[in-house]
């Protein structure tokens, strides 16, 4: 077995130059320990708050469930949803939002390449903007597939706008 290097490596990234309905990271190598996604994205949906979703391995059957803990600056709440066709990362800005605001969202998928367990996805959502439309918090998604993860697809209501940025990192554990 090759020596582990304990690295944090950019696997792929994309910054949109035109509006795009979906973004996919495919052919994800199985050589890392964990995956981290960092996005700064905005949709063209006619709202201040646009839901932000994902699928793994192109699976869109009812294998996703989630629980979230979020706050809007006034109150905190928690909700869950079972048997969904997509996982939810959080929320992003829409076309009614102040221009130039691309909220940061992150996703962590630990031990993504194992073929034994269901996959858990932890995400942080950070929607802050002037006037209205806020959400800060965390989501945990369970994806009921034991397959190794080789692709991640991102969805929003409408299209992702130009300037939206998506980065996928692989984290390789080092040797003790």
């Amino acid at each position: 077995m090759a020596a582990k290097t304990g690295t944090y490596t950019l696997i792929n990234s994309t910054t949109l130059t035109t509006s795009t309905a979906n973004i996919t990271f495919s052919s994800i190598p199985a050589t890392y320990t964990d995956l981290r996604v960092v996005t700064s994205a905005r949709s063209d949906a006619g709202d201040r708050v646009s839901s932000y979703y994902f699928d793994l391995n192109g699976l869109t059957t009812s294998i996703y469930s989630r629980t979230n803990l979020t706050g809007n600056g006034t109150s905190a709440s928690s909700a869950n949803a079972a048997s969904q066709g997509l996982g939810q990362i959080g929320t992003i800005t829409g076309s009614v939002s102040t221009s130039g605001i691309f909220p940061v969202n992150t996703m962590d998928i630990f031990d993504y390449s194992n073929s034994t367990t269901f996959k858990t996805v932890l995400s942080r959502t950070n929607l802050e903007q002037p006037t209205a439309g806020f959400e800060v918090g965390a989501y945990v998604n369970l994806v009921q597939t034991t397959n190794a993860i080789n692709s991640i697809k991102f969805y929003c209501v409408g299209n992702f706008v130009s300037g939206s940025n998506f980065k996928l990192y692989g984290i390789e554990a080092g040797n003790l």
């Binding site: 290097t5 690295t7 944090y8 490596t9 950019l10 990234s13 960092v38 996005t39 700064s40 803990l69 979020t70 706050g71 809007n72 600056g73 006034t74 109150s75 905190a76 102040t98 130039g100 605001i101 691309f102 909220p103 940061v104 992150t106 942080r124 950070n126 929607l127 802050e128 903007q129 002037p130 806020f134 800060v136 918090g137 965390a138 300037g163 940025n165 980065k167 990192y169 692989g170 390789e172």
Partner: protein, 168 residues
């Protein structure tokens, strides 16, 4: 495989200090990650940090957070001329306990307003601890070239550390 998480600078307080600053931040990375382990000299259980990007006093910050204190959850919004990193441990907390935080700024050299994510906690094996998930927005479009973190109480204790990473 190339390592793409680079330590730009680490500051460890050797004796009490009122603030720390990162200046001339290289512009060759994509994102910034700031990690801190902090205790202040104030006689409260918790203390906050005045966090500024670039020149203190430039622009305005909004903050939205969700907080747990071990018995309840709440949400809060703030709009001020600095970003309140709250809370880290103060001198009224259990001895030798330090609060921790991670602050992540993507696309810090870009020309959009700067949105950033903060996770921060002040656990001390007693009451008065907080755990926050926060989002901040700085309303300036300039690239980030510096950061200042000033103690809300006036002084950080020795062994408080702040480490800035660049991410490619």
């Amino acid at each position: 495989m190339a390592l793409q998480l680079f330590k730009i600078q680490s500051i460890e307080v050797a004796s009490q200090a009122s603030s720390v600053a990162f200046s001339n931040i290289p512009q060759g990375y994509t994102d910034l990650k700031l990690v801190g382990s902090v205790r202040s000299a104030v006689g409260n259980i918790g203390d906050f940090i005045y966090y500024y990007l670039n020149t203190p006093g430039t622009g305005a910050y909004t903050q939205r957070l969700i907080r747990g204190d071990g018995s309840s959850i709440s949400s809060q919004a703030n709009s001020v001329s600095y970003y309140p990193l709250q809370f880290v441990n103060g001198s009224g907390s259990t001895a030798n306990t330090f609060g921790s935080f991670e602050l992540y700024i993507p696309n810090y050299t870009g020309n959009a307003q700067k949105s950033f994510s903060v996770d921060i906690l002040s656990e001390n094996n007693s009451s008065g601890a907080y755990m926050d998930l926060q989002v901040g927005l700085w309303n300036q479009t300039a690239a980030i070239t510096g950061m200042t973190l000033a103690s809300g109480s006036g002084l950080y204790v020795a062994n408080s550390t702040f480490t800035l990473y660049g991410v490619l």
